[in-house]
Amino acid sequence: MHKRFLALSTACALGALALTACGSGSDGGGADADGKVTLKLVAADYGDKESNSSRTYWNNLATAFTAANPNIRVDVQVVNWNDIDKQVRTMIQSGNVPDVLQTGGYADKVADDLLYKAEDVLSTGTRANFIDSFAEAGQVKGVQYGIPFVSSARALFYNKTLFQQAGITQPPATWEDVRKDAELLKAKAPGTTPYALPLGPEEAQGESMMWELGNGGGPTDKDGAYTIDSPANVETFSWLKANLVDPGLTYANPATTDRKTAFADFAAGKAGMLNGHPSLIQMARDGKVDYGVAPIPGKTGPLKSTLGVADWTMAFKKNGHRDQIRTFLDFVYAKDNTLRFDETYNLMPVTQDTLREMTGSGKHKDLEPFFALLPHAAFYPLGDTSWDTVSAELKKTVGTALTGDPAKVLGALQKKAKDTAADK
């Protein structure tokens, strides 16, 4: 009796396991029973707490959209940044593909031929409204797939109080200025980090590119071929090593220091200067830091074209909802909606009408230095389908060029990048 009971319960347990394993099946495309179409939207969460979660924005937008287009419903799913890549990968692999996805990168999905071209899912008016440099950054081999959603640009932030204390009147414009100012800060403002250089895994690909741009370098050349170990880049890292790291003018171990540490230090008044983006404005204000913003210093003068970063929207082919997606995206990119999103999170627009509105309204004085930088922004080689992998390698390793031999570390990275590009 006892044994039979045991066997029975085991069988039940196994049965339950098998059932739950199959339970995640999904409904594919096509219309619902009532002839209406449900679009599945997956978006990243730009909020840092429940009260400002992007879920609120998208739910309101979906309700307004369905009110205007009763035949299309939108199923909203908002995922936080740490999990969205993994979850999207699972969705794609299990065939439960979203119709519209808003996240950080698009090129790997183009490599697997999953996306609609931008021209298929955007009306002419909406397409013409994008700022050119962003629309171009959405292209893979000359065809646009990635649809920019929001953007930000980088600039130098400096702590005015610490600068005053060190007797510095002007923000640095050249690398030599950075070194001199950092030395003054080290002498006059002890206990602070003169220049916060985060080359840890969080965003080493960004910080390294900002420095490389200052020497006319960068991860790729004009034709898109990788040039990670170009003489300009090696010189950049040698300069950083000899002038900031070795004299102790920055963190002891930049290769393991993440951007969030640098931002937190700056917001706590413990860092003299660093490269930051607009979200640092609010952090510095909360920390009561009197900050200034200036263009990023280059080797001989400030950068003319700074690093621009964009997040992307893309439309998947799998469910065949092309026309409904087009209607939806035209709604998403209407000025009122993009403006509301950008203002909620202090982000920069990617469309011309919203940029005009934000520049002209006078409500965004703190963002003004960044607006000026936007049209000349330089981007990661986002359209290269091997960039995601190369970027992961850079994040992991490029910081060690400051402790080891720059030529050797960058050389090894270049070799990996070339192998990856050849493998795709």
Partner: protein, 307 residues
């Protein structure tokens, strides 16, 4: 796994039912366990090996067979050499220190002293806490700006000012070894303590009567009798520490680059760039663990023969 009884010749129908049940033997009863092993152990191993021969895109699409390319790529990694060396050093250092300290602790807890019960319970704490939590806890205690250990050591005059212990491999390794020993001590000490309690008191007393010094008695009597427990603790620790992922991942994530990675952590790092290559690293790791398990089986058999 299952013991098949030798197939008997088919009998007459009336005798069939009991015969068949006899032929199946214990199979119906162990079948759930066997199925579980097939699904939970063997199937993932098969998938792991299969994945190591595939080309997989970053969004997870299989793009065909890779043959041995991923293994070639893995063995071409410049980091692999020092990662394997670090794995050996890490395992030897952590297991060696753990066994040494545990021998002393077990001896201590075997004595009668006031508060022994409390001390024995306290030793369980590092075992009861999640290893990942412990590692993250230590990471924050060692934090460059806010770390309590940094502050304490500065105030005690041990160091001049807060240091970034985990950012530099040469200081990160000793700290991680320390934390790994800390979390391995409870299990090992209790294993040895159990062994110590099997040492008959008469034998030690007899030695004392014969005029053996305490050290002589320990070396000649306690240690040899402790061998079975010692070997079990040693081999289980070897496997555990070799596979140890949370301590290193929680404290440095193997960085900068792969300078503080063991092969298990390195495998996880490879996942970010190439799933196939990561799988081939898993296969290599798996082979090494199988070797350790074979060693364990051999040692336990040797144990039995000796006793």
């Amino acid at each position: 796994m299952s013991q098949h009884s030798p197939s008997p010749t088919r009998g007459a129908p009336p005798a069939r039912t009991p015969r068949r049940r006899g032929r199946l033997g214990p199979l119906p009863w162990i079948a759930p366990a066997v199925l579980l092993i097939l699904f939970v152990v063997l199937w993932p191993v098969y998938e792991m090996v299969r994945t190591s021969f595939l080309r997989i895109s970053t969004s997870g699409f299989v793009r065909g067979s890779a043959g041995l390319d991923k293994y070639r790529k893995l063995f071409g990694e410049t980091d692999l050499g020092h990662v394997l060396l670090a794995t050996v050093l890490w395992t030897v250092a952590v297991v060696g220190l753990t066994m040494l300290l545990s021998l002393g602790l077990a001896q201590l807890f075997d004595q009668r002293f006031p508060g022994r019960r409390f001390a024995r319970w306290a030793l369980i704490a590092p075992w009861a806490a999640s290893v990942l939590m412990t590692a993250i806890g230590f990471r924050w205690m060692l934090d460059r700006t806010a770390g309590v250990l940094n502050t304490a050591m500065t105030n005690l005059g041990l160091i001049d000012g807060p240091r970034d212990w985990l950012g530099d491999p040469s200081t990160a390794w000793p700290w991680m070894v320390g934390v790994a020993v800390f979390v391995s001590l409870p299990f090992t000490t209790y294993t040895l303590l159990a062994g110590l309690q099997t040492v008959p008191a008469e034998v030690s007393e007899a030695a004392k009567v014969d005029g053996a010094s305490a050290w002589q008695a320990y070396r000649r009597i306690t240690l040899p009798l402790l061998r079975p427990a010692f070997l079990v603790g040693l081999v289980i620790n070897l496997i555990n520490v070799f596979n140890s992922f949370p301590v290193i991942w929680g404290m440095t994530q193997g960085g900068p680059s792969s300078d503080t990675a063991t092969s298990t952590v390195f495998m996880y790092q490879l996942k970010a760039t190439d799933i196939g290559e990561s799988a081939s690293m898993s296969v290599v790791n798996f082979a090494l663990v199988v070797l350790l398990v074979l060693l364990f089986l051999k040692v336990s058999r040797w144990n039995r023969e000796e006793s």
